[in-house]
Point group: C2
Chain length 255, copies 2
DNA sequence: CGTTTAGTTGAGCATGCTCAACGGTCGTGG
DNA sequence: CCACGACCGTTGAGCATGCTCAACTAAACG
């Protein structure tokens, strides 16, 4: 599928393409194409060689990994997010698998083109470095979240982050199925249920995908959100932390 | 302390400086200086603003993080490693604290200089991107290691990695105190002890810092090392995965 | 109207942590 | 030179967080 003008416009407004000049944009996007995938499509398996940078424009994608018959979710991505950028820069194999969770629309940019753009234009290359650095810091936040907090604390902070992002009202709508949310928070669906019940003490009530807060103060006392762990602007949109370097927070669209 | 020629030589042979031309090297290193720190010196606390890129030339450094009176180790670095590169690129605050474990020698490169070098020379900027991408992938490996393996499996794989790096003999010397090793592997010292005992079944015997293997095959059957998790060339030197992008494996010095 | 799937709840279990005690080693000071 | 103290490492007992397995409900879909 060729790239329509409207799509090109969307991509330009994204991430490291935003400030690129036209010539560099053309170089980096040379050979890029847009593709739609149904739900539950494997885009990439661990160990596959990576020829394209993926940019998720619609839908959602799970990044995961396995070993010895175990599997784990590393991130859930929502538009607009790039993924496997690091493998593209290093021309190496994927360390994570990528599977669509819903019907998704993905822009595929040839790795060669991206690397050429980076090597020809230092300003563009720097913007990619910023994106990579943002990904890195997102991973660090994710590790801290998992190593320093128990499952209830992770859920509480997730809810507060969602609340902030959905406008600070006293009711939010969970953007994922609960099973997906459980994977995102690093627990089983059973334990997510139990974590929600524990939070009923703190004024959290759940009805399907709707979550209401009757006492945010006491919830915050449990959650103790920290700017060194939680990224209230970009966290969930891309739990790997990718999506938008930290200085580009303001322009996020809604998850 | 000014930079001696011998030190400059060491730095040039490192990481993204290796292929930089002289002019770019001078730009990126402008204002850099070498500093020695005693053991247990805090170089950086979480939340501090980051003005320098740190390059560890001698000694060792622990990167950690805390929340609500809990603390955790994120990585142990050994020479030659850069750290907090991502924060430097984004001009943002540190997400991890850094503390010397031994007397250490560290090159401090002003962030301004590094960023200027990146923006003026695309090839240099690309090399920094490669370094960042290597860091990112190291973190991904680390997360997979922790989420997919239990503590005994992590130890078994650590031992096999050390063995490979120390020449494949049937005896190795642990490069860290056991308490440090425990932190590195994400467990308590008590559980490291127990993990070692569990591995005596698999032909692993310990005497102080010396570890001997009498049956590597059966140990490997338990450990199941994977190139998608373990980096037999760079892993321990820098558990955050940083240290040398994956294409620069061959030139690692010994840990 | 049956079947499937998401979610919840309970019981039991496992991995890993805390706390405490103990042994060995090393360095210091009497 | 020996005695003491500090610290590393080990071992045991008990506990907590989170997982597995199973049963059950409710809603969605044919």
């Amino acid at each position: 599928m060729p790239i329509k003008n409207t799509d090109a416009e969307r991509v330009r407004n994204v991430s490291f393409f935003r400030n690129a000049d036209d010539a560099t944009f053309d170089t980096a996007m040379n050979g890029a194409f847009l593709q739609r995938f149904p739900a539950n499509t494997t885009l990439l398996m661990e160990g596959d060689s990576v020829d394209f940078l993926y940019i998720l424009l619609e839908g959602s994608v799970e990044l995961g990994a396995g070993w010895k018959s175990k599997d784990t979710t590393l991130a859930i991505l929502r538009p607009v997010s790039t993924f496997i950028l690091a493998a593209v820069v290093l021309e190496s194999d994927a360390l994570m698998s990528a599977v669509t969770l819903e019907r998704s629309e993905i822009l595929m940019v040839p790795g060669d083109s991206l690397r050429r753009g980076m090597k020809e234009n230092a300003v563009f290359g720097f913007a990619v470095s910023e994106e990579l650095a943002g990904c890195y810091r997102g991973l660090v936040r994710s590790i801290k979240n998992h190593k320093l907090r128990d499952s209830t604390e992770r859920l509480a902070n997730y809810l507060l982050t969602q609340r902030a992002r959905q406008g600070g009202q006293d009711e939010i709508v969970l953007p994922h199925e609960k099973r997906v949310l459980a994977a995102l928070l690093g627990m089983t669906p059973e334990n997510l249920s139990r974590a929600f019940s524990k939070l009923s003490d703190k004024g959290v009530s759940v009805d399907g995908a709707r979550v209401a807060f009757s006492n945010v103060t006491v919830l915050e006392r449990l959650a103790r959100p920290s700017p060194l762990i939680d990224n209230h602007y970009a966290q969930d949109r891309n739990t790997l932390g990718k999506a938008y370097t930290e200085r580009q927070q303001g322009v996020l669209d809604q998850s």
